[in-house]
Symmetry: C2
Subunit: 312 residues, 2 copies
DNA sequence: GACTAGGCGACAAGCAATGTCGCGTCAACT
DNA sequence: AGTTGACGCGACATTGCTTGTCGCCTAGTC
């Protein structure tokens, strides 16, 4: 296979999507870094021009080192191509994520979902009806997602990833006053469509929990994030900051009515779950579970459908 | 840009992933169909060999028209390449889906998740620690997913997509006896990690609900699926086949303790939700909701934390 | 106005890609 | 067992593409 073809494919990967861009000299140095020896700048220029004739790639020629980029709405095509099974799975995932992730977050994945649509609709007319064939039913009571600002999200995510600080304008729900913080994000926790930011504020060592959709404005700062030695998101969550208590392991013994408990026969509470079907059809379950608020809510949700024998 | 390079890229897209495969003659005809005139079979053979030297592509040489395929665990690389934001979103999605979709289903997406891992770990050492920075907390009590056979899943999905029949061997949970059905899948519903197949059996017009993980064996038949005129998955679900009753709209009025209800201030029950904070801190919510079993379970799960005033 | 960086056209040398042909192999059919 | 056909692959000459070099042009900068 010719060096040329390989190089051009590699170049396609180095070209970013529209807001960002790459210049020919940058590209040349990336290529040499990637092991393509002795590529003249001239060759890179020629290649970029050639690629733009066959792919949705354009150059910004307003200033001199031209900036090359994939057009914003260029469809993502993957290698290997999406097979129908994977496309179906993607749509399933989309169906589900729509219920659970904020829209602004999910937008990043839309080129993939679009690609899945294409695959499925190309597979012949019959298959075009797939949306009528697949459904995801939500777990629990559906709630409306809070509105998240796209720019705010981008800044916060970037700050988290690049260990930088951000200045955010924050407003608590029932308050009119806005506050401005300089945050150093430590972690991101998503639960029930709400995105939480674990962070420190200013030079303080104390960790705070901000809610993404309460941030009105955010601006990335060119300052490295404050470092908290030994911080671990896992431990932080274990501490019960999200209302989940320490998570002691307990032995649950309970008797469910047949209707309420039969799903546990197939989706067990734990690996060591014991089940016994009583003569009257009721189901006795014994399992080792973690004692959390969720567990209590889950048990309560069955109302009369469950009788808890013991929980030690 | 040379015809050669373009053709080879196109070939990469035509090559399927491991279980499936494509032969050189097939490839040749696909290429001519795609507008590449006059490609000798010999050239295609040469190209395939060349590609396999630079990509995780292999050929099955056990029988004569060799079958070419991308290796099962080949990482998917997309064009344009995954940017860090998208990669992070993908990992977030994976985190979520792990809790909700059966593992066998999610396996189809694993190349994408792997690609996201690569992007994130290449972004410099600091970013390699991202898994410690992002967490998704499950909604409700976590249950163990049932085990689904990969082959069974593939066959059933394919039957659904191609409107064909499949022969399945089915075993109900507490029974030893296996039954064999010839099913025509009508739709797929996923709820709480359980995949349900809505289908007809044999020539009957009655719809049945099978559970994917109870299928022991499945074989695709070369018979078109039985057609049910006017079937709609949407309507089927509305009929309450999943224990969700008809879904009458009702007006809910309830008073929550502050702790139990404050999340409703930001993630509302409905668009027309009214909230009032009572002098003692409790929260009165009025909203139009659909009366479902989920709603009742949700209300019960708060125990003493909520007092339902009316539900009409 | 000189200087610099980058883009681009032109051109000859070299290298790669292609079609053709022939041989070998394997499997299926007669 | 022989025949036939499909396929993969090595070899080779020819065609045509790719590449580095050089020089010119433009736009911004000191």
């Amino acid at each position: 296979m010719s060096e040329t073809a390989l190089r051009q494919m590699r170049m396609l990967q180095f070209i970013p999507r529209e807001p960002r861009k790459i210049s020919a000299p940058e590209m040349a140095s990336k290529l040499t870094a990637a092991g393509f020896d002795e590529v003249t700048l001239r060759t890179v220029q020629r290649d970029l021009n050639a690629l733009s004739k066959h792919f949705p790639i354009r150059s910004d020629e307003r200033e001199k080192p031209f900036g090359w980029f994939w057009m914003k709405d260029a469809p993502a095509f993957g290698l290997p191509a999406l097979d129908p099974q994977t496309a179906l799975t993607l749509k399933l995932a989309q169906n589900y994520l729509n219920l659970e992730l904020p829209t602004a977050t999910l937008d990043y994945l839309s080129p993939y979902f679009k690609a899945a649509d294409n695959v499925l609709s190309e597979m012949g007319g019959r298959l075009a009806k797939w949306p009528d064939k697949v459904r995801v039913l939500p777990k629990g009571q559906p709630l409306l997602p809070p509105r998240i600002d796209g720019d705010v999200q981008r800044v916060v995510y970037q700050a988290l990833m690049e260990n930088r600080r951000a200045e955010v304008v924050y407003r608590k729900p029932a308050e009119v006053m806005e506050q401005t913080f300089e945050i150093s994000p430590l972690g991101l926790v998503v639960r029930n469509q709400v995105v939480y930011i674990v962070c420190t504020i200013g030079e303080s060592k104390k960790t705070y929990l901000l809610v993404l959709h309460r941030i009105q404005k955010a601006q990335l700062l060119d300052k490295p994030a404050a470092v908290i030695k030994g911080f671990s998101l896992e431990k932080y969550i274990q501490q019960g900051e999200f209302g989940l208590p320490t998570g002691r392991k307990v032995r649950l013994e309970a008797v469910f009515t047949h209707l309420a408990g039969r799903h546990l026969l197939e989706t067990a509470l734990s690996g060591d779950q014991d089940t016994e079907i009583l003569p009257d059809g009721r189901i006795r379950i014994t399992a080792t579970v973690v004692e959390t608020e969720e567990l209590k809510m889950w048990l309560r949700s069955f109302g009369d459908g469950v009788e808890v024998i013991s929980l030690i």
